[in-house]
Symmetry: C2
Subunit: 317 residues, 2 copies
């Protein structure tokens, strides 16, 4: 297991800078008053494909040597990683193969295809996904870019905290959502060197709280069929992300689905940005733990903004 | 009639800079591809009270001498001007009186009160509004700040185009919505000196096309009971805004309500910002007049972002 270093993150930032956006940091007097904290929202939903995952994907794609680049990349994902990897591959002009269950939403498939990604459908089971993916990889020779358990991906995600630090300075906390742990790991990687005084807090849905339980137990515990509105956060920790979570994360806080939906609506209304339920988990946990964050300067990573605008959770309860 | 000058706009910018946000300019590869143009969206919906009207209101409020400031400001409006004027008055710590029909949405009233504005309700008729306002003004001595037909307000709105020019450089067009014409007038005021080569285009709902018909006729024509989803654009031109519209506007383009709703949804989805139907009229007209804008660099002013998230127009057709 290769653990990415601070220098890997710096190299990633130089590599991906021409291809990604330096996303803005937004504030809201209203949300500051509501929480008693000074909140700094880093808008990764403003990346062209709408998610921070573009950073890690772009680092992996543009780090390939010419020979491997000719064979392209491959992954299995039905979420933002698939579209971001396709987008990054399109920027470099190389193939991207994606294995996705045939049950995935049509909109997700359309986005991957719009960015030139080639989809191979599988059954919605781990066995089918793994065998299908093995076949696709054998046929294409595409380099496997895991959604989060990959040092190139984690180094890429870490560039977000570097920018946030440059744009804000002197944060007491950075709070980011945790699913597989890619963004949290990158954040830990960067801040443990650049701003060790800043505490990294992971925010997780109660109904998919495997990271919380793992953190308390001291070893990885997987969820049994998690189900939450924050559908970007269903995946489990893996060895590489567990390394960062267990060594560097200050705490993991959880919020219920109704609390997440309420925080999502608050952000749409007062920050006036479109973001996914997953991205609302940090604000939900801050509202729930007011005493801890009051009077503090808190960075929040808005991880993604891909939402079905015809099915907003506060209209479908 | 005093016509504000370029120097008034420069003075306004110095005066309001400490109190407003220099809003970011956003782009979307997707929307560029769709229109064939290079679009630069100036996000005035990111002002704290959610609209460009903060600029003009802040210029009026902070330009008052101490004696007048003690008596505060007053206006009649049930829209963004009322909340922005209340917010600006709160920043300076002076009274703000707002006359509003009792039929105005509760959310609008709540926002004005949250910013310390004092509401006096009237009947939803011009007669009642005017008599109620006269009474309030006589009692309080508050300085009347008209939502748009006021040189201080127009000079303030013009600061938006100054920033947009600094942030983008070399635009062929700037397209902004037109209602009473405050933003369009400010834009003309600024660009006719700063970038006379940039054409200012006003975008208007078909179902409230009084500015379009006035522009073609050469004199102000008022609408008879306009009704459109773009409810920020229902008000008529007045002498001061007509001056700028008739002298400096390059063209006025219109779009239907379904086209406005489609453009609104496209922006939410691909730019991932929350904006009002009124703010979507420019993109709707650009999509409708593809040939004119293809290959051009086009600035678009997203004028506001205050929307009832429980009643989205594409879910209520």
């Amino acid at each position: 297991m290769y653990i990415p270093t601070y220098d890997d993150m710096l190299a990633a930032h130089e590599r991906i800078k021409p291809h990604i956006r330096r996303t803005p940091v937004r504030t809201s007097d209203y949300l500051n008053e509501l929480t008693g904290a000074q909140l700094y929202f880093k808008c990764e939903n403003f990346q062209e494909p709408g998610a921070f995952k573009l950073r890690g994907a772009t680092n992996a794609v543009f780090g390939l040597d010419e020979e491997q680049a000719g064979k392209g990349v491959a992954t299995h994902s039905s979420g933002n990683h698939a579209s971001c990897l396709s987008y990054a591959a399109m920027l470099r002009g190389i193939p991207c193969n994606v294995v996705m269950p045939h049950t995935a939403p049509q909109a997700k498939k359309d986005t991957v295809r719009r960015y030139g990604g080639k989809i191979t459908e599988c059954e919605p089971s781990t066995t089918s996904r793994e065998s299908t993916f093995a076949k696709v990889q054998a046929e294409t020779g595409g380099d496997f870019v895991h959604p989060y358990n990959d040092p190139r991906v984690i180094a890429g995600q870490g560039t977000c905290a570097k920018e946030l630090r440059e744009q804000t300075d002197g944060l007491h906390y950075v709070v980011a959502p945790i699913g597989g742990g890619g963004m949290i790991s990158g954040t830990c990687l960067t801040l443990s060197t650049l701003a060790p005084e800043t505490r990294v807090v992971a925010a997780e849905p109660e109904q998919a709280d495997d990271a919380y339980r793992s953190f308390k137990a001291g070893h990885i515990i997987a969820d049994d069929a998690p189900k939450t509105i924050a559908d970007g956060l269903l995946v489990p920790l893996k060895d590489l992300t567990w390394h960062f979570v267990s060594n560097h994360v200050h705490d993991i806080l959880t919020a219920s689905d109704p609390e997440i939906i309420e925080a999502m609506k608050l952000t749409w209304k007062h920050l006036r940005v479109v973001m996914e339920p997953s991205s609302a988990v940090p604000l939900a946990t801050i509202l729930k733990n007011r005493d801890r964050f009051a009077g503090k300067r808190v960075g929040i990573i808005i991880t993604g903004g891909n939402v079905d605008l015809d099915k907003l959770p506060w209209l479908n309860r």
